[in-house]
């Protein structure tokens, strides 16, 4: 535990978020020591690892929700960040419509005495429209499907026109079609709007096809660098302790565990 291997540095100059010599954890229990990272403007950083590997702890530290045990996290001055939490974390007891949820994304950036007006409503509807769910605006958030709720939360994040979009397990509970649509959308807004994306997931295939840079976390080790460099069969095999094979199907990168191979390579 606590060792960090930096396989490749990103070489980024236009950083938006960076951490220096971080020790990350809760109380006295450190999950990682001496972690240094840089999130460059316009990149898609995929943070991936098995459950319990410390992804969420690192994410909370990156976002300022959890103070690092040592080191520091910096945002480039003026950088705006929007966070899309895991959908399960949102309590559906609150009787708010999808539109009101999106308006909260605007209210968070406005002054304390701000009251939602017609401009907010228009912007919120535009954000819903961006995700193709404008007709859902008047429906209660709690009555929407998993995929629709996730898209509403994404619309809320985008309504504030952030420089950086941070998503925690955005495809959990989604069916295949919704997952594919979500990933394609993220890819599009990264290319068309230059929104930097930080994505946390336990699903390697997602980062294989979306991320430009990755952090792979497992067994107290962090490997980070360009996706093509880090996501190699031998690296993943060593990190996960199972034989990993990479391939391509219909232009998409896929990953399988080779059960015929020795378990610990």
């Amino acid at each position: 535990m606590g060792t960090t291997t930096i396989m490749t540095t990103t070489g980024a100059t236009e950083w938006v978020l960076r951490g220096q010599h971080l020790t990350v954890g809760y109380g006295r229990r450190a999950v990682f020591h001496d972690l240094t990272f840089t999130v460059a403007q316009g990149q898609i950083l995929g943070i991936v690892g098995p459950n319990g590997s410390g992804k969420s702890t690192l994410l909370k530290t990156m976002l300022g929700l959890l103070a690092p045990l040592a080191g520091r996290v910096e945002r480039r001055p003026g950088t705006t960040i929007s966070y899309v939490p895991q959908r399960e974390r949102i309590d559906v007891i609150v009787p708010v419509t999808a539109l009101e949820v999106v308006e909260m994304g605007l209210a968070a950036r406005a002054g304390a005495m701000h009251r939602a007006g017609s401009a907010d409503r228009t912007a919120a509807l535009a954000a819903l429209g961006l995700l193709g769910i404008e007709p859902l605006g008047r429906q209660l958030f709690r009555n929407l499907s998993t995929g629709q709720q996730q898209r509403v939360l994404l619309a809320r994040a985008l309504a504030g026109a952030p420089d950086v979009l941070v998503l925690d397990e955005p495809t959990v509970g989604m069916d295949l079609a919704s997952e594919a649509a979500m990933l394609e959308f993220l890819h599009d807004i990264n290319r068309s709007r230059g929104v930097t994306i930080v994505l946390v997931t336990h699903l390697l295939p997602i980062v294989l096809n979306l991320a430009t840079t990755v952090m792979v976390m497992a067994s107290g080790t962090v490997l980070q660098g360009p996706a093509d460099d880090v996501l190699q069969e031998d690296t993943l095999t060593s990190l996960y302790g199972v034989a990993v094979r990479l391939g391509t199907v219909a232009g998409r990168r896929t990953l399988v565990v080779d059960r015929g191979a020795p378990r610990h390579v």
Partner: protein, 263 residues
Amino acid sequence: MRLALAASVASGLTLGVLGVYLAIRRIVFFGLVLASAATFGAAVAEAMGWPRALVSLAVGLGAAASFGDVDASTRVSNESLMGWAYAATSSATVLVLAGAAGGSADTLQLLFGNVLSVQRAQVILLVVLAAAVSALQLLFAQRFLLVTFDAQAAKVAGVNTRLWSLGLNLTIGAATAAAVYEIGALSTFALLALPSMAALLVTSSLRSTFVVAGALGAVVPALALAAAFYLDLPAGPACVALLAIAVAISTVWNRASSRRSGA
């Protein structure tokens, strides 16, 4: 009677509206802790001969600041901490009053209140408080909602969630402490917990939830006062009983409504 009515309506309106935040944050027992802590403050003041309202307010605010935003550890849940706080303050209240002259009468007064003996100055305080809470709601509703719905996302967006959450908790603490001595701990807790519960069952928008909770909070204590007057019943328990009936009716309405929409 008019003073009692004004005090009941002002307290009920304030607590009914603020109780919505407790319900949607799923910390209804925080209201019980606040009511119990404010009662303990009043009991200490009673025993020591200190100004009751001031000590009750101080203890209520202290509890609001201490327990409203506490992070549960992996071993002890928030509910357990609140259970501890309630047990500690309620037993301490009885112990403090046990040593005071007229202890059992004071205990009954603190638990159930005596709104019929309310003074003009106390009514003015409650009405001013109700107006202040309404003004805060009008001005900062968006902020309170942000920290209630998804505090983490709000914090990432730059909102000082700790400050706003504390402000909301202190508002609830002040309203609770002000109400406790007039209407008693039981009615205070019931007005924090039950109107919001009933409102959430019958409404489908946040605005209407606040309106219905505030209306129930204002109307039910007035009905209870009428019942107390005409049927010679104790006002506090009558108020709680009527609120409990309102929740039961709301539950039936909600189930019938769900069946209709499912059919």
